[in-house]
């Protein structure tokens, strides 16, 4: 059963590595994360065995809950959708060497902006409303992270801290608005804004129950990848990320780079917020602060900040989330087992970074 899980994940991890492996180290990029994942699963198996659960059952239920049936796949993909977008909020600034951990805040502001936009145009045709919502969500989220970027560029404020503090600020603003000025009096025990209306919901991908957020996420991830690795702008960003001084010497406007990248990063998370409103909740309320922004940080780091690798990693983390319910119900494990497993996988994958270029039989490769 172990190999089954590992195989499927290795296969998933394989998808982007074809692009990654331009320097011929493709095997390494499959083998090392795969081995790290297998190692983490073994350790987690031992951990649950300590509590009297059979590890083989564990692997079986994890596989079944995440990828075992079409229903499980849809569950996994639904959970992965917002994670792709929020992970990009961390992965893009990482190209510049910036650590942004405030995707949750951008998601909330994006959701608020998108909802406000929809409520402001009550009689417009749905497609126009949806485009306007997406634009508003992306702008709102983008400006929110750009604030962190701007503070760093013009005031020297550390972006990691400012983006984190802004999460709490965004949450306070959201709660203040949905319980006060924007509250729908009919929302009673769940203070919420008014609903955007069933007609304006974006619905699911035909033939599935996975909402369109997944497609948006994949498109955004590919676009970010192309931007970073195949445009002059992206090249400039990577130069600046490698060495700010060098970038300044060759005449790059680092300030503009920071602001643009932060805006794009925030707009990804803002789009995730818009999708949560337009595909799931239908309105804005405190439910939106479900931690997608924070899990996105994990996804970004596991994907080694590569925008394309974000896709399979988000699916993997979504799958763990999807299987968490089955672990609770069939094995009687507490909900926190998912956190423990994510932590162990994360530790293993990070530690495996040390292995690149050190595996004997791969060394001969160019």
């Amino acid at each position: 059963m172990t190999s089954e899980v590992a195989d499927s994940v290795e296969a998933a991890a394989a998808a982007p590595t074809g692009f990654l492996g331009r320097h011929g180290a493709t095997i390494e990029y499959i083998l090392i994360p795969g081995a790290a994942l297998a190692g983490a699963l073994v350790v987690f198996g031992i951990f649950v065995a300590l509590f009297g659960k059979n590890p083989l059952d564990l692997y079986f239920y994890m596989y079944q809950g995440a990828f075992g049936t079409w229903f499980s796949w849809q569950n996994t993909l639904t959970r992965a959708a917002p994670l792709i977008l929020t992970a990009l909020c961390t992965a893009l600034p990482a190209q510049l060497g910036m650590v942004i951990i405030g995707g949750e805040g951008a998601l909330l502001i994006g959701a608020l902006s998108a909802t406000s936009m929809a409520l402001a145009m009550p009689s417009a045709p749905p497609l126009a409303v949806q485009f306007a919502m997406a634009a508003a969500g992306m702008t709102g989220g983008g400006l929110w992270i750009m604030l962190s970027g701007g503070l760093r560029q013009y005031r020297g404020v550390n972006e990691t801290i400012s983006s984190l503090l802004l999460v709490y600020v965004a949450l306070a603003i959201l709660n203040h608005l949905v319980e006060g000025p924007m509250r729908d009096p009919a929302s009673l025990n769940k203070p919420s804004t008014r609903e955007i209306g069933a007609a304006n919901m974006i619905g699911s991908i035909p033939g599935t129950e996975v909402h369109w957020g997944l497609v948006f996420g994949v498109i955004a991830a590919i676009a970010c990848y192309v931007l970073i690795y195949h445009t002059t702008f992206g090249f400039a960003a990577r130069v600046a990320g490698g060495n700010i001084r060098a970038a300044k010497i060759v005449g790059l406007s680092v300030g503009n780079l920071i602001l643009t990248i932060c805006f794009l990063a925030g707009s990804c998370a803002g789009l995730a917020g818009m999708v949560e409103v337009a595909a799931v909740q239908g309105r804005t309320n405190a439910n939106l602060a479900a931690g997608y922004g924070f899990t996105g940080i994990l996804v970004a780091f596991l994907a080694r900040q590569n925008p394309l690798a974000v896709i399979p990693v988000a699916i993997l983390i979504g799958g763990i989330g999807a299987s968490g319910g089955l672990l609770q119900r069939r094995l009687g494990l507490p909900d926190a087992s998912v956190l423990v497993l994510q932590g162990i996988i994360f530790v293993f994958v990070l530690a495996s970074d040390a292995l690149y270029g050190r595996i004997g039989f791969l060394k001969g490769k160019p």
Binding site: P185, N189, K190, H211, Q281, L288, G325, Q328, P334, D335
Partner: protein
């Protein structure tokens, strides 16, 4: 539990197992086929809201022929839709209890529409005719228990000032604050209740700070409406104040300071639901009740409760149990001086207007929005 006699229990369970299958629309009609799913928004060991529901689920586990599956910490996003579907598809659940208010709209409505043969019993929602027929909402008038706790608090306070640590200004919470205050005013018309909103359902540091601030104001009896009352109960007791509990009985935390408390009685209600289904009845889509219907209960009085307070509280409780009692009746003025219930109007417990409460009554210090 009223299932004390074994023979009676066997009998009931036998019939439950046989009829539940058909009543709930499962394929087979054997006992093992009836699976019931419980979904909690927080940890089911929270010594509060979720634990009260888990105690109800535990009561069902004791009944033969039922299989209970539980999932905790399910957020009020599409995750709960997937959890419900997973319980239906992978566990074969035919009756679901999504126990958090935020699950109802849109999530329960959506999944109930998709699985018309599965029955959904949602805690706290306001089912209307437009909602799927296989979904229902139930809730307890816990304000009745708060009313009685208020009477006890009103008798016990020396300063005439009560404190209420609340999460959010929503109708369910406001109704509790108002009922507690109206109860206290029965004991002493000059009593006031100061309310502090912490902003969310589980904020231990804020709850402790709110408790301290209230006591600094000279308040000597406190109660709360947050997910886990333990923080408030312990911190208030440490400062020498008296407390009224909420959700479950917290008297072991502060045996001397604990006066009484408003508790859920899900362990009585849930088996009742199963028996209704077993008897071939359907659970009303909009199910409500209070002390009389045994959906809520009052904690046993603590040692600090005076005889006068006991008598007064017991007398009011007896009236609730016998015929029901109207807590909210006109003339009722809110704390801004506006008449919210006109003289001569009685808003009985089942009045849907009460579920939309957006005011704090005269005597409450605080703002509803």
């Amino acid at each position: 539990m009223d299932f004390s006699s074994i023979s009676r229990r066997r009998l009931l369970q036998g019939s439950a197992a046989l009829t539940l299958g058909t009543a709930l629309g499962t394929r087979g009609a054997t006992a093992a086929d009836t699976t019931i799913g419980f979904i909690y928004v927080g940890s089911r060991d929270d010594y509060g809201y979720n634990q009260a529901h888990a105690a109800g689920a535990a009561a069902l586990k004791k009944m033969a022929g039922l299989k209970v599956v539980e999932e905790e910490k399910v957020p009020e996003t599409d995750a709960v839709e997937k959890t419900m579907e997973s319980m239906i598809n992978l566990d074969g659940a035919t009756l679901l209890f999504p126990t958090s208010f935020g699950y109802y709209n849109p999530h329960v409505q959506k999944i109930a529409g998709k699985y018309p043969k599965v029955h959904f019993e949602h805690c706290g929602g306001l089912w209307t005719d437009k909602d799927p027929k296989n979904a229902g909402s139930y809730f307890g008038y816990i304000d009745e228990a708060q009313y009685i706790a208020g009477i006890v608090a009103g008798h016990t306070t020396k300063s005439g000032k009560l404190g209420f640590v609340a999460a959010k200004p929503i109708p369910q919470v406001l109704r509790n604050i108002n009922a507690f205050t109206l109860g206290a005013k029965l004991a002493n018309p000059k009593t006031t209740t100061q309310v502090i909103f912490t902003g969310d359902w589980s904020m231990p540091v804020k709850e402790a700070e709110a408790t301290n601030s209230l006591i600094d104001q000279g308040i000597d009896v406190l109660t709360c409406h947050v997910d886990g009352p333990k923080t408030m109960v312990e911190n208030a007791a440490r400062r020498g104040a008296f407390v009224c509990g909420y959700h479950v009985n917290q008297s072991p935390l502060a045996p001397k300071a604990y006066l009484t408390g408003a508790e859920w009685n899900w362990e009585a209600l849930y088996p009742k639901f199963i028996k209704m289904l077993a008897a071939g009845q359907s659970i009303p889509n909009f199910y409500r009740g209070g002390l009389q219907e045994e959906i809520v209960k009052v904690s046993p009085y603590g040692p600090a409760v005076s005889d006068a307070a006991r008598r007064h509280a017991d007398e009011v409780k007896a009236r609730f149990m016998a015929t029901g009692l109207t807590i909210f009746k006109g003339p009722l003025v809110d704390n801004k001086g506006k008449t919210v219930i006109a003289a001569g109007t009685e808003r009985g417990q089942k009045d849907p207007e009460l579920e939309k409460m957006d005011y704090l009554v005269e005597g409450v210090l605080g703002a509803a929005a």
